[in-house]
């Protein structure tokens, strides 16, 4: 929202300080000023010129020649880049001036014709964006005048970051009230050359139907429009606005159209009441109806768009058809044009919700819809519509009819809100006396109701301050709203800062965060870099039962991810494409899945990693090998024991049911060949393995990539360890090598060893695999080191020998072993 500082100063002459100081003050007490834009600062050299005559450029179809005057006898020749008309006034940059954009103007030959300076467009003067033509200036200017002075520039424009609650600050009067010393008592509306005697019309009231001065208003749905005022003005001469009015509109980024339309815009930006002027002659039956649009009803709006409407949309219609979008934008057919003489001026209260629907349906957001959606001051319509009518007649002549229309509900009583000083203290932590509170709030328009002596004591014996809310502060409905007013006007930074009593939170930590901490520590220590990515996936990347977004930004982000590995593969490819060979990434993030029964999908936090490249960092002393399945298995075994309290075992044949119950099918899509599962008690808690080769777009000859995914909730955090006494007696080591048929797995053989071993077998470690020439076909030699130790005595050689013998017998009998050496 844009606010002209000069305009505000005109409304509140007591305001002092630079634009920057005022912006600071607003930012610190009311609403953030995003930017302070200088207006007209750099057009100091621009002079008003009148075109005396025009003729075509002999050498260029698109250019024209003009003779201009700047008041003196001298006639100046100009090459004009766009049409101008004889008698029109234009901004003229004489040779030697510099335009706002930095362009230096000289006498220049353009296609063989000399141009003594140039005539400027709106954009060249930084008064707007239009660059399509040369700006025609208001007719009340005189050739030779300096534009900057006649427009009242330089000015500054505040760009406000308006919050939804403070719609009152969209109007200059609202900002003036905030900045004026004395608040509401420090502002006054200028007469704008309208004379001093305001003439109030005789209101013809009716609830849903009212008529006056030959016009009629029917509100078919008071839910859509609670109040509608209309004044008929006859005999208006529509034409360009004077310089002062054009300057006001330029300063806030608007553009003058004609005196009638400009008057409505001026009053809207001044009093914050949107107004609309209709060409009365174009209103069939001189009738205005506020109603729901019919399904398929059509309307061409002022922005030259044809629109198809639906009952969601509220329209202004005449007897026959829709002529405007209520509270949003007028229609082309009834717009005020140079031919218009009789005007119907509208000032209404359109329902916020219905305005929002109308705006949403048509995709429009206008100055009017902005205000109606947030709520206008229902008590301010009379003042606004009469002021606008007077301004129109002051600018364009004609006369407002003495009898005017007022339909709809009477605005309710101004609400009264009670404010307890003790409550102020409890929220703000500072005591304000009643008088102090009044001193802060009354200037903002919050006044004690007439005859109110401060309210009755409530149950606690406290006498609250009772304050009537001004019509323009519809956002204030409760005591807390007044407390905020007190806080901001006192100044947030004027309050103290003190520690209060310490309180122990009744809420326990969610374990997920300490689980995530553990995962990060371990993964970082193992060389993995954490990544974070958005939870979106394409339809192809998302797994089964993915949640679909109703309003995605793009089709590549139209689903929610069902696993983390797929996203990590994208990140892996991203790095491979940038020449990285060694990539180790992990992510902790949420995955989602449709849940049949309810609308809210299932979600859970997962951990996943991906790794590709070499086992170790490159070093001159070694030839680092590619990561293989044993690197993966060792890592996941560590994760299993350190993080999950889970064992790791090969996922022989995919058990679809188990994967489904663990919701891991989505991750399982990416694994192939060498795959493991984390098993926690009887449940599958995660997967790890080799990534399907086609899933990674990497350099030619790239070694396989490896990944894993598991649930964060399975990470163990509590101390589950128990002390096992340490034996003071020596250990005895023995080795054993034996030949086994290939179909005997190590897990199976070690099971046989444990079953056959004496209780003092402390540890078994496989240390060799040999499949050379001396070994029979379809078999292999495996060698283990056994560590024996008893908790209560030194083992004798005989005991250990007997133990080894028992193991060997078991291996021969139950594992088809042929002992090679022991």
């Amino acid at each position: 929202m844009r606010i002209s500082v000069n305009w505000v100063r005109e409304l509140a002459p007591g305001i002092e300080g630079s634009a920057e100081e005022l912006a600071d003050h607003l930012s610190m007490s009311a609403v953030a000023v995003d930017e302070v834009v200088p207006v007209g600062e750099s057009i100091a050299d621009i002079i008003v010129a009148r075109v005396e005559e025009t003729r075509p450029h002999p050498n260029a179809d698109r250019l024209g020649l003009a003779t201009i005057t700047t008041g003196g006898p001298e006639r100046i020749g100009i090459v004009a880049g766009a049409p101008v008309r004889a008698g029109g006034l234009y901004p003229y940059a004489p040779p030697g001036t510099t335009l706002p954009g930095g362009l230096e103007i000289g006498a220049r030959k353009i296609r063989g014709e000399v141009s003594q300076g140039m005539l400027c467009s709106e954009r060249e003067l930084e008064l707007g964006w239009d660059h399509s033509g040369i700006l025609e200036l208001p007719p009340d200017l005189r050739p030779g005048e300096r534009l900057v002075e006649r427009l009242g520039f330089p000015d500054h424009c505040f760009v406000l970051d308006l919050t939804p609650n403070r719609v009152d600050l969209a109007g200059h009067l609202g900002v003036a009230r905030e900045l004026a010393p004395g608040g509401t008592s420090g502002v006054a509306l200028p007469s704008l050359g309208m004379g001093t005697e305001p003439r109030s019309p005789v209101w013809q009231d009716g609830e849903s139907d009212a008529a006056a001065s030959g016009a009629r208003v029917v509100i078919e749905d008071l839910g859509r429009c609670s109040r509608f005022l209309g004044i008929v003005i006859r005999g208006v001469t529509v034409g360009p606005s004077p310089a002062w009015l054009a300057a006001r509109l330029w300063a806030i980024g608007g553009r003058p159209i004609n005196n009638v339309v400009d008057a409505t815009n001026y009053v809207m930006h001044e009093l914050n009441q949107p107004l609309h002027a209709y060409d009365l002659a174009m209103l069939a039956g001189s009738e205005i109806r506020v109603r729901a649009a019919e399904q398929g009803e059509r309307l061409r709006t002022l922005d030259r768009e044809n629109r198809t409407l639906a009952p969601d949309v509220t329209v202004i219609a005449d007897r026959d058809r829709a002529v405007g979008l209520a509270g949003v934008m007028g229609g082309e057919d009834t717009e005020v044009s140079l031919e218009t003489t009789d005007v119907f001026l509208e000032c209404a209260v359109f329902d916020p919700l219905h305005t929002r629907r109308t705006a949403r349906h048509t995709g429009l957001a206008t100055d009017a819809s902005y205000r109606f959606e947030r709520g206008v001051d229902a008590t301010g319509l009379e003042a606004a519509v009469t002021r606008c009518a007077r301004l129109i007649t002051a600018l364009g002549g004609g006369e407002a009819e003495g009898s005017a229309i007022r339909a709809g509900h009477l605005p309710g009583e101004r609400p009264v809100v009670a404010l307890r000083p003790t409550r102020v203290q409890r929220v703000l932590g500072r005591w304000f006396e009643r008088a102090e509170l009044a001193r802060i709030l009354v200037p903002l328009g919050f006044e004690p109701p007439e005859g109110d002596v401060g309210g009755e004591a409530d149950g606690d014996g406290e006498r609250p301050l009772r304050l009537m809310v001004p019509g323009w502060r519809g956002d204030v409905t409760h005591e807390i709203d007044l407390i905020e007013e007190v806080a901001r006007r006192h100044g947030y930074n004027a309050f103290g800062d003190e520690a209060r009593a310490f309180r122990v939170s009744s809420v326990a930590d969610d374990p997920a965060w300490s689980q995530a901490d553990r995962v990060r520590r371990l993964m970082v220590g193992r060389g993995f870099q954490e990544v974070r990515s958005a939870s979106f996936a394409s339809e192809a990347r998302a797994g089964p039962d993915a949640v679909t977004l109703r309003n995605p930004i793009s089709s590549a982000e139209s689903r929610l991810r069902t696993d983390l590995v797929s996203g990590l593969l994208d990140r892996l490819e991203y790095n491979l494409a940038r020449g990285r060979r060694d990539v180790r990434l992990f992510e902790i993030g949420t995955v989602f899945r449709l849940r049949a029964a309810e609308g809210v999908p299932f979600e859970e936090l997962r951990v996943a990693f991906v790794m590709a490249g070499r086992r170790e960092l490159e070093h001159w002393s070694i030839e680092a090998a590619d990561i293989d399945v044993w690197d993966l298995k060792g890592l996941v075994e560590d994760l299993g024991s350190e993080l999950l309290g889970a064992t790791v075992e090969p996922l022989g044949s995919r058990n679809e049911e188990e994967l489904a119950s663990a919701r891991l099918e989505a991750a399982a899509r990416w694994f192939d060949g060498e795959v493991f599962q984390f098993r926690k008690e009887t449940r599958v808690a995660g997967l790890a393995g080799r990534i399907v080769a086609e899933a990674v777009d990497g350099p030619a000859g790239m070694a396989p990539s490896w990944a894993a995914e598991f649930r964060l909730a399975d990470v163990v955090t509590g101390a589950t360890s128990r002390y096992v006494p340490i034996s003071p007696y020596p250990q005895v080591n023995r080795d054993l090598a034996a030949i086994f048929p290939l179909e005997r797995t190590v897990a199976e053989i070690e099971g046989v060893i444990r079953d056959g071993a004496p209780p003092f077998l402390e540890a078994v470690r496989l240390f060799d695999l040999y499949e050379g020439d001396e070994i029979p076909a379809a078999s292999r030699s495996l060698a283990w080191r056994f560590r024996f130790r008893a908790p209560d005595r030194t083992l004798t050689d005989e005991e250990v020998d007997a133990g080894m013998k028992a193991i060997m017998t078991a291996l021969e009998e139950k594992a088809d072993a042929r002992i090679r050496s022991s």
Binding site: S505, V507, I553, S554, H619
Partner: protein
């Protein structure tokens, strides 16, 4: 009982044998075997010392001194031999070029946004805030209505929201967790809530459709604006440094009132104004305020009895200001050349 003279002889023999064994050791392993045999806990010398107690009292000092002397000599010989054995290979190789790179281990790193989240949470944990979380797929009730945001109201436009189904959405802020926590816990409540949020903003230099937020909430009897200001200033001092100043500006959030935007002096220029702070000297760090009574009503707290404050901040934005990162997309691309800078 062994006569003393015999004991002395044994001692001499052990020493001679021991010295010979040490001298002839060709490797550290052999040397260790000799040490165990002659000096170890069940070695020869220890055995002699153990038997000293059986010698006549008058001779014990002499024998003891001799035994200790033998032990000293054996130990000296052992050390000498160990040094000699260790030194042996270096005589056959020239000294290494120690400027060559060492063998480094492969280290990973946490994401810079995680690092900021952790630091923020740590400061609030010291102040007695627990770390909680809530679902990312939310209902309209928790995301909007329970937070005093009517659905069809311009206030709801402050968040452009992704919808999953009727009334179901991806939360547009972490604030719904405020309501969830208060519904299930009685005051005093002091929590911080890190988590992902989603808004329909396409990726650009300063926007991400999914981003992290940290919510904070403190509710009890007697919590006021003054305590709120203290807590936030304390946080700013701890996180940004003692010399950082804080300012509170009016703002609007439907679920807090009074609402405040909190700025900290820009770390790049110290408040003088630079490109990071767009010349203002201030960096916006959080939205905050006193919990709105309507929120208390929605969750079943007595708004007359309880007061509190809430705040929310974006750790990615804070990380951008802190590390001088110009584009928020860098956080989510997973480029190792970027991520490895923050270890």
């Amino acid at each position: 009982m062994t006569p003393p003279v015999q004991l002395l002889d044994t001692l001499t023999r052990i020493e001679e044998e021991g010295l010979a064994a040490i001298e002839s050791s060709g490797s550290l392993d052999e040397l260790e075997a000799a040490r165990i045999r002659y000096l170890g806990r069940s070695g020869g010398l220890t055995d002699v010392l153990r038997r000293l107690g059986q010698a006549p009292a008058a001779q014990r000092p002499v024998l003891g001194a001799a035994a200790n002397e033998a032990k000293r000599r054996l130990q000296a010989a052992l050390e000498e031999r160990a040094v000699a054995l260790k030194r042996a290979p270096s005589t056959t190789r020239p000294p290494a070029d120690l400027t060559m790179p060492g063998r480094r281990a492969c280290w990973g790193g946490v994401h810079p946004v995680t690092r900021v989240i952790d630091e923020i949470c740590e400061i609030f944990r010291e102040l007695g805030f627990s770390r909680v979380r809530g679902p990312e797929a939310e209902t309209e009730w928790y995301n909007f209505e329970a937070l005093n945001i009517p659905l069809e109201h311009p206030a709801a436009d402050m968040w452009d929201t992704f919808y999953l189904a009727d009334g179901v959405l991806l939360r547009s802020h972490t604030s719904p967790v405020q309501a969830r926590i208060m519904e299930t816990h009685d005051p005093p409540v002091r929590v911080v809530v890190p988590g992902m949020c989603y808004r329909r903003d396409p990726f650009d230099a300063t926007h991400a459709p999914a981003f992290e937020q940290i919510e904070g909430l403190a509710v009890d009897e007697g919590i006021d604006f003054v305590e709120f200001r203290f807590t936030i200033e304390h946080f700013v001092h701890r996180f940004f440094g003692k010399h950082t100043r804080t300012r509170f500006r009016p703002a609007y959030f439907p679920f807090t009132e009074p609402s405040a935007e909190v700025d900290a002096t820009c770390g790049s220029c110290g408040g003088d104004g630079c490109s990071t702070c767009k010349g203002t000297g201030w960096i916006e760090i959080m939205g905050s305020g006193m919990v709105h009574p309507a929120v208390f009503e929605a969750v079943g707290y007595d708004p007359e009895r309880y007061t509190g404050y809430a705040f929310g901040m974006g750790p990615a934005r804070i990380a951008m200001a802190r590390y001088g990162i110009p584009d928020i997309r860098l956080f989510y691309e997973g480029d190792l050349r970027f991520l490895e800078q923050f270890r």
